[in-house]
């Protein structure tokens, strides 16, 4: 039985296909349309999933949409009821959109199938939003049973849930309701500190190590009333999201010493301290929730999903606290992953199909490499037709040549194998460089990503070597855990850094791996497994043979505001637009200096909206 999972109409639309419970393919729509966080129905991602499976749309047995529209609309109506007569402007914006599109999911799905000349499958499933998240976290996990914690902005009513999962059964046992939401609280601080909601949360987390948690008590006294079991209530007098267009209001600004920081303006001490304070509070709540989840379910393993599960700093703390024996986080923890979860929930929950026991302690996400791959034949034909000079290598030579280029301080775009599903590039659509270089961080930021960033890059290291570099003894295949760099690798702090400029501060060397060491001596780690990604592993292994260090920089293959590249053509475009030195397309390696001159009609820098 083939089920297509769909998430759409909010942000990060995606499609995922499962065949008798096995994950066949999954991808975000933005990668194909090149529109960041694309929210339209994922027609292209769906077409890709069908092509990967080698089936036509009429061979699908069901479509699973990732939430329950009627319950969600009820929540929206209740919100306007609660706020009236305030909220008229918001109502005029939101309700027509619901009446036009969001209430008509079966009709929307049918229109897509009709455009393909086939009728839609008989079964349309609507798992709850948080059940979709929970299913995406539990079913692919390496555990036979687990507690599942999902935390995000909001689904229908639920903003956080605790589920008890065993075999095929996934049961919601506790949930917390809108408008009290850890995801929205974090987004409110994201907005207030001048970053974009839905994409700037990562920046807020990256800013936290610069600050002191001086506002933490104020947050706990005036903003959020947290209980020992991790449940909480928020002070709604401070927020604008119920009836307006902003996350926070004037009362919030009064409490935190002035108005929100305008986007792109200078980041001040206050934003750093706010970032640290909300990070500390978030971690405290996540840990409390996890302890409660353990008490309620009695399970030894924890699975997590929902946007807040992308907070790798909190995840690192969770792992360190050892509340659960093992922790597994869905790499596509945000709404895109809901597409996969919806399909899995339909298979195991609605169809009641058994879940085979996970084998060899491995998850079934296959490294999250669930997107399209392009063959060397296809790439070769493309390069030849376009007249782009390239050299093709056998695997060993390929890895050695790339490793040598990294050691020569080249910046390399890497586009090979299946594209990653989820927000992180994990070595198949990545830009890589030398983590030992003190200059690499600013070179990559300014010449390649076209941004000034206060965030260091993340490292990819061989799975077996992770303990040589970091204070961690577990794998982190999806770059979802933060851990300290080993003490003996670190350089002591030089004086009081808090007075330094943000960019100068981040560029100060802190360890023998300066490009990946954050100001608090931590790093966001990806461990690479030979069996899961042999190509990427071979590169790092060759780099280790050459330099003695099995670790490199890994950042996503895109410029600021652009979706991560998908096809070799996207990769070539990005390569030529930036000051990258080498491009790897499958088995081919391209050198910048040998490429024909690159011309574009318009200034591409205006193509992408800053995120």
């Amino acid at each position: 039985m083939r089920i297509l999972g769909v998430s759409a109409f909010y942000h990060d639309s995606a499609a995922a296909l499962i065949d008798d419970g096995q994950i066949v393919a999954a991808a975000q729509e933005e990668r194909f349309t090149r529109v960041k966080h694309d929210h339209e129905f994922p027609k292209n991602a769906m077409a890709y999933c069908l092509a990967e499976a080698g089936i036509r749309a009429d061979q699908l047995d069901g479509v699973a949409f990732y939430d329950k529209p009627i319950t969600k609309f009820h929540r929206i109506l209740e919100t306007y009821l609660s706020c009236a007569p305030r909220g008229l402007r918001s109502y005029l914006q939101a309700v027509p959109l619901w009446l036009r599109q969001k209430l008509w999911i079966p009709a929307e799905i049918e229109a897509v199938f009709e455009s393909l000349g086939v009728s839609m499958p008989e079964k349309i499933y609507f798992p709850e939003h948080h059940v979709s998240h929970a299913a995406s976290a539990y079913y692919p996990s390496p555990f036979a049973d687990a507690a599942v914690l999902t935390v995000d902005g909001v689904g229908e009513w639920a903003t956080s849930t605790i589920c008890d999962a065993d075999g095929k059964d996934l049961k919601v046992v506790r949930e917390m309701h809108f408008p009290h939401s850890l995801g929205l609280l974090y987004s409110a601080f994201t907005y207030f500190t001048g970053f974009r909601v839905n994409s700037g949360e990562y920046k807020l987390m990256g800013l936290a190590p610069y600050g002191e948690p001086i506002y933490a008590d104020k947050i706990k006294d005036h903003v959020i009333d947290v209980r020992d079991d991790g449940s909480f209530r928020m002070n709604l007098d401070l927020f604008g999201y119920l009836d307006g267009f902003t996350m926070t209001n004037d009362n919030f600004a009064k409490l935190f010493d002035g108005p929100a920081r305008p986007a792109e303006s200078t980041i001040t001490r206050r934003e750093m301290d706010l970032a640290k304070s909300i990070q500390v509070v978030t971690e405290e709540i996540v840990l409390k929730m996890a302890r409660y989840a353990r008490d309620v379910t009695g399970k030894k393993n924890l699975c997590m999903a929902g946007g807040v599960a992308l907070n790798c700093v909190a995840n690192g703390k969770l792992l360190k606290e050892k509340i659960f024996d093992r922790l597994w986080i869905q790499p596509a923890a945000g709404d895109a992953g809901g597409a996969l979860g919806a399909a899995l929930a339909a298979w195991h929950g609605a169809e009641q199909k058994p879940r085979p026991a996970p084998a060899n302690g491995r998850d079934s996400m296959r490294g999250s490499y669930l997107g399209p791959v392009f063959s060397d034949d296809e790439i070769g034909a493309f390069l030849e037709a376009k007249g782009y000079p390239a050299q093709r290598f056998e695997r060993d030579e390929w890895a050695k040549t790339i490793a040598k280029a990294i050691d020569d301080q080249k910046v390399i775009g890497l586009c090979h194998g299946r594209m990653e599903f989820g927000p992180r590039a994990l070595g198949n659509r990545s830009i890589i460089g030398d983590a030992r270089s003190p200059k690499m961080q600013s070179v990559m930021n300014l010449k390649i990503k076209y941004r000034e960033s206060f965030r260091p890059f993340a490292p990819s290291c061989l799975k077996e070597r992770v303990a040589d570099f970091f204070e961690i003894d577990d794998e982190s295949p999806y770059m979802l855990l933060v851990a300290p760099v080993r003490e003996e690798r670190c350089i002591a702090k030089q004086g009081d850094e808090r007075s330094a400029d943000l960019l100068e501060w981040v560029n100060r060397p802190r360890s023998d791996l300066p490009a990946i060491t954050h100001v608090d001596y931590s790093a966001r780690i990806q461990t690479v497994d030979k069996d899961v990604n042999p190509g990427y592993y071979a590169i790092i292994e060759a780099f280790e043979a050459l330099t003695g260090q099995g670790i490199i920089i890994n950042t996503s293959f895109n410029v600021r505001g652009e979706p991560i590249v998908c096809t070799p053509e996207d990769a070539y475009r990005c390569f030529m637009r930036t000051e990258m030195d080498r491009l790897v397309l499958g088995s081919f390696i391209l050198e910048k200096e040998k490429q024909p001159e690159w011309h574009e009609k318009d200034d591409w820098r205006t193509e992408f909206k800053l995120d």
Binding site: I70, T71, H74, L77, V95, P96, L99, R100, L103, W104, P106, A107, E110, A111, E114
Partner: protein, 54 residues
């Protein structure tokens, strides 16, 4: 006209939802909103409808 075909199902589901959760006020509200939706929807939905008036 796909929506017209699905409107019966949608209203039916809203009624069941209202009965199960005892949220009866939602039924008249939904009927009014859906009725209004046919006429007012800005953009693509309304365009062909208005176009035929010309």
């Amino acid at each position: 006209m796909g929506k017209l075909k699905h409107s019966g199902g949608l209203i039916g589901e809203f009624c069941k939802f209202a009965m199960e959760n005892k949220i009866y006020w939602i039924v008249p509200l939904i009927l009014v909103l859906l009725f209004v939706a046919v006429v007012v929807i800005a953009g693509t939905g309304a365009t062909p409808f208005i176009y035929t008036l010309f």
